[in-house]
Subunit: 341 residues, 4 copies
């Protein structure tokens, strides 16, 4: 009634920093990926211990003992600050690298490395040797705002107000009292308030890079609107929802196709961006490599204003999933292979 | 070693609509209140059934069977739309009323009834026969914004952006699929988006009433700034956090005492408003009749901007607790008696 | 570097009762199954509405409108009592059926239908036209006890004490007050106490069928030990953990290989039974079609006693996953295809 | 209409180990207690930091700096092993002590100290200088079993099977990976399996002390039944439910008043034991100093068997609340004063 015939030579890959939540998600995705093969996974604190990913057992090794040269592609999920050095080691060993830390992202003092916001930056990623994988909040916010920024639709001198909330896996799995179940359950609070979150730099730099350049302006000019970004900690394990209030430079452009037209134009053919008919929820995107976006106008205000909602799984589209998506692009594979849509 | 001598004649009170979450919280608070005595509690669907509040057993009766005249004060926690009629019945029976529904609140087509935002409207509540108890979101947002609005510190033509999140008891205890545990747990989403939430009317009307009137302007003029209000549903049972971004008309006024000076001036002596030294969390205020507020300036933006955070327990300060607080004021009791601070 | 060549003719299947939690899980698994194709999904209350499963959109139809004859295999996730009739309709239309209701399970007055506890009953399922899929609790308990029962290792006249706990999806998605988030969160309670749960019949009947028959005893004789089964409701969405205390007829038999030897003998080669080295948790098995079992002796007691722990995902191995596994066996497919291990 | 006149000289008390969950609950209860006054609270790791309990601010000091002699009664919530030494220091300074650790409990090598299972041991606590406060699980289990044990109703040579589940505050607030929100949420597992939990010793010793002594038997004889105790970790902050299966020595004794008669006889007049009409849930007892007990017979078994359910708040009746209750008894105060019923 049916038969298979398939012959795949898998690409050998490695994971640095495999014991954190993003690192584990990477191992999980790679184990299920039909064209990647996990050659090593490092976890200094847990060297020698075993973990199972999709039924496959992995023994963690120390980073120093990782056979970097055995991998064609290395994913680094090492902590911020520590990752940069290991990206160099992996490059010197001949591997290409997707770096999930913030070390090489735009706005962090290290320009020039392609930024792996796949749907927006795809052309720069093909054939790249190193890609800086975006932060989780940055992914949700930038995928939501890119269609407006690229079209110059955000009002000059306005403030884009982003209130975002993340599940606790975004804070990592190092034991901290404030992350204990009895502290987080039945609670909700803001943190990094007053525009001091680490991801603001890559958000601002990327919005500036996407915005149309005024005649005579320097290419490096910042955007002419402000960003107010306030993250919150949710009593859930995974997921990010960004609620974004944007004042439009001109509401005429939206008249034709309704408020979601710029997003339809930008993402209509994207397999990993869903344009929703109602507000997205983090449950909608859990364990999936998608951003789910909904846009609605705001009633009863003087200036044309949109609410843009963007939901992702912080560990998948906001970290490991997008990293594999970028790896697929870098390696010339089908971009969607091995990724839960 | 110790002795007591106390002689209290308790005030007889009744609760209409006692089987919902707010109604139950009312019964619970009244049972522990040293100067109130619960004479009846109505619940049409559960007439005849028994419930325990702080160790005291109550038998629910139908509203039609409630001995309204036996109560000096009646709390109505009936649904919006159904409450107004019963407020009249209770008044006709000689009782004074605190109405927890939206029926009599400002901006709902029924002006003139004192609005029970206790800390802001206290003088209008003393001796009032009927008080409209504020909505839960409105309480959190108005206590946060009143000090700025009263001083004219919100920039004209700006938009005050409110992102708020509430525990599920805010949605009542009628069985609905979207409120089932398996739907709400591990989820987070916005609702009533685009400025259509019921509480906007009372928020706008109250902010207009508080704002200084420009010379020559009509007293009924609306405020000269906009409100963008987006509520979210949290996977917690109780609590509201409002995250509010406000553009200031003038940052000079804040120079002296720092960003929290207007709130210290307004609430320094209030027993039920806490000015925090860090972002408030809903756990901080659970089961307490307090609003906890924190203010911080926003860095890296062109116009002077504040973030104001306000946390309450939606069932206590946002409903039953504030209702009892208003009852205390109406009856001339110590305002704090019987309320968990 | 790699290439594919595959040619699969998919088996057309249908789902009756697709809007409940088990029905949705079935649609989800079928959508990802490489050798099954979903031809219809019924949901009387939601006829005409759309749902997405793994990126594929499905429109629910009424049961009356289901093209039963178009399916080679029909899964019925209809409610207990209502399912039996539709199993007949599907059979009359020429389809084979996996019935997830309790209607056709042993001990429910309808003997003779093969019982789909796959690992234990596999031989009876090959080529069967109708299979009764086990209850979720029964799956966890019977997979745990079968190795002891088959070997006659449970002490005569003893009571096997089963304390089990299930996530709320086990109670279905009909709106009921006691299943609201605000009722279930931060709570835990027993239900159906005193040995009155629906699954006891199939547990007892199956244990009797598995137990060695004493010489001269009737084959239909009941087992010579008792079962005390107490289920509890957990504040989690999915998962079952059964904690089972068993008195052994003889501890000598365990001496050789340690307490897990009977389970190693029974399940050593099973792809969907995991023998753990520590107590299993429901997180270990979430979204996976596995039962995870751990056994340990009890210290400080007079008679040889084992604790057996068994964890499953109630919607996967406890319902939809095992149904697909049984479908795979019935159709002669690889038993593991399409199922998350 | 009313007036107060009260004159209370409060008893000065201190808390050793005030920063853990039980210690904080103690400070909270003492702050609301009308006849106790908190003189000091120690927390070595957090010395100098401030905490608020019921609106009162407390500054933690090191244990070495605690003015032990200023307190008439000291509560020690120090860790097991470390507490015993500080009990001596407090005694030497002239204070009486309630020790919440296991150091002085029966079965832990330190007999002779009165065991503060208040309802069962009350007479030994009046005027005691030191009381060993029971463990949380032991409280739930022993209050459930005492009426049977005292009456000799537990079948000889039977095993009492206890499956219990606790909220995570039972595991303390030291940061550990396995207690992080993302690990505990949506999970459930057993721990300390095979009869190795610390509380078994005090359970066995107390059951032996309560059981009628057979003629000729030594008073120190152990009970003639076994205990199988299996604790589980619940994804809730607080609460314990014990599900206990007991084989009766004789069911005739229950015939008269139904299965709950022994509990009615034992606890009918107890303010802090509730005999329920249905299975108790941990929500029923949260934040309350009560044990809620329900008993039901088991159908379909050979020997007369009862299920006994017992729910407490592990931090209140299972720790701080019972400690205050014991303190009330020791000091000759009204036993119920200051305790939430």
């Amino acid at each position: 009634m049916h038969n298979y015939a398939l012959c795949v030579t898998k690409v050998p890959v490695g994971v640095l920093g495999a014991s954190g939540y993003a690192g584990r998600e990477l191992c999980h995705l790679i184990s299920r990926h039909p064209e990647l093969e996990l050659r090593f996974a490092t976890a200094n604190d847990q060297r020698g211990s075993r973990a199972r990913f999709s039924g496959r057992e992995v023994v963690f090794v120390a980073s120093e003992d990782a056979p970097l040269a055995s991998a064609e592609l290395v994913f680094s999920a090492l902590p911020h600050g520590a990752s940069k050095e290991w990206v160099s080691h992996a490059r010197n060993a001949g591997a290409r690298v997707v770096d999930l830390s913030s070390d090489l992202r735009p706005g962090n003092g290290c320009e020039g490395v392609p930024y792996g916001l796949t749907e927006v930056m795809r052309e720069q990623l093909r054939g790249a040797d190193v890609v800086a994988n975006p932060g989780c909040y940055a992914t949700a916010v930038l995928l939501a705002l890119a269609p407006l920024a690229e079209r110059g639709l955000i009002a000059a001198d306005s403030a884009v107000v982003v209130s975002a909330a993340s599940g606790v896996t975004g804070a990592g799995n190092s034991p901290k009292r404030e992350l204990l179940f009895a502290e987080v359950a039945e609670d909700f609070r803001a943190y990094a308030v007053g525009n001091v979150h680490r991801h603001l730099a890559e958000m601002r730099a990327t919005l500036a890079a996407l915005s149309p350049v005024a005649v005579g302006a320097s290419e490096s000019a910042a955007v002419d609107f402000d960003l107010v970004f306030t993250p919150h900690l949710l009593p859930v394990a995974r997921g990010i929802l960004a609620t974004i209030t944007v004042t439009l430079s001109d509401d005429a452009v939206l008249a034709g196709g309704g408020p979601m037209q710029p997003w339809r134009d930008a993402y209509g053919a994207e397999p990993f961006v869903e344009l929703a008919r109602e507000t997205p929820s983090i449950r909608d995107v859990a364990h999936r490599n998608v951003a789910r976006i909904f846009v609605t106008p705001v009633a009863g205000v003087r200036r044309p204003t949109l609410l843009v909602f963007s939901a992702i799984d912080n560990l998948v589209k906001g970290a490991a999933g997008q990293a594999v998506q970028n790896g697929n692009v870098m390696l010339g594979l089908d971009e969607t292979v091995g990724l839960p849509a």
